[in-house]
Symmetry: C2
Subunit: 193 residues, 2 copies
């Protein structure tokens, strides 16, 4: 397998985004994360802040919010965003080697033989430490925030891909960044490129 594209799926707080950026920097290829959001905002007309959550998370109503209520009136905002995101990610993959963080890129590019699919995870404790360090304290406990994020991300993933999020079998390599450390994860991924 010769890889031109690396997709990084990650649990919230696992450092997957940082790992993706560093891999891209060391390999000298672009990393689409914030840039993806910018392009998505440009093409969809929705604001970046709105899109930050919409292309990866189910709303508070979970699957019910995704599947039933608003669909009475045709495509939901999330359906439209999914479609634009889908096309955009396919286009970016065509343009050349890159790292793509999140946004179900692993699923969207699943049929490309040149795509290395990576999943980054860590224990609840390690992720809780990390999000407090990175994003500060909030009214809810960090564990509560993580559980909520995990649940809404898994629901979104399940709905649009019909696959189970975090199942090892969906990825070429899955790494526990909390135990292995971010630098080691970067090294391992680089070696597979």
């Amino acid at each position: 397998m010769k890889n031109r594209i690396i997709t990084i799926s990650r649990e919230f707080g696992s450092g997957g985004r940082t790992i993706g950026k560093e891999v891209a920097r060391q390999l000298g290829i672009p990393c689409y994360d914030q840039e993806l959001l910018e392009k998505l905002a440009e093409e969809s007309g929705f604001s970046r802040d709105y899109l930050r959550e919409q292309g990866e998370y189910a709303g508070e109503k979970g699957l019910f919010g995704l599947s039933l209520a608003p669909r009475t009136y045709g495509l939901t905002n999330q359906d439209q965003i999914w479609k634009i995101q889908y096309d955009l990610i396919c286009r970016l993959a065509e343009e050349g080697p890159c790292v793509i963080v999140g946004r179900c890129a692993d699923y969207i590019l699943r049929d490309r033989a040149d795509c290395l699919r990576v999943f980054i995870h860590a224990s609840l404790e390690k992720r809780a430490e990390r999000i407090v360090r990175e994003y500060g304290e909030r009214p809810e406990s960090p564990e509560q925030r993580l559980r909520d994020k995990d649940k809404r991300r898994a629901t979104y993933y399940r709905f649009y891909t019909d696959m189970k999020w975090g199942r090892a079998q969906n990825y070429h390599i899955s790494l526990d960044s909390g135990e292995l450390g971010l630098d080691r994860c970067v090294d391992l991924i680089k070696q597979l490129y």
Copy 2:
């Protein structure tokens, strides 16, 4: 994390056993796989052929076979084997560095900080090719054999560990041996030791 022990959990047909043996050979430490079965046979009085399936797979009755029927009369054979296997694996881990293949060792040693937990998987197609090559043809299709094995192993794992088998979060590293190749898997695991 400094690793003295490596546990290899694997999907049937993924080559996980071969990877475990090769890692152990290259690191110059013992690999417990057949030897574990020998010791288990010695300590339990059950035959090796009987034990080959019993410490990893639910029977054809699945969860029902494990949980209800035979338990009316106290401990089942599988319960006894689980207990002996549990104690044996803890003892082996105490004795010194080693690789342990299968037998829920990842769960049994989960509280040891010096244990690297590895999961090896591959696509159904790649595993089907491999089992026909290694074990020859059978009356059932290879895909059918794999699905049956996967299901019975997941049921066993769930029953005795109360965890979901194949969930990336249970392991430090999960690898797709079909895409990455066995040698590369061996290299990556060795680096983390």
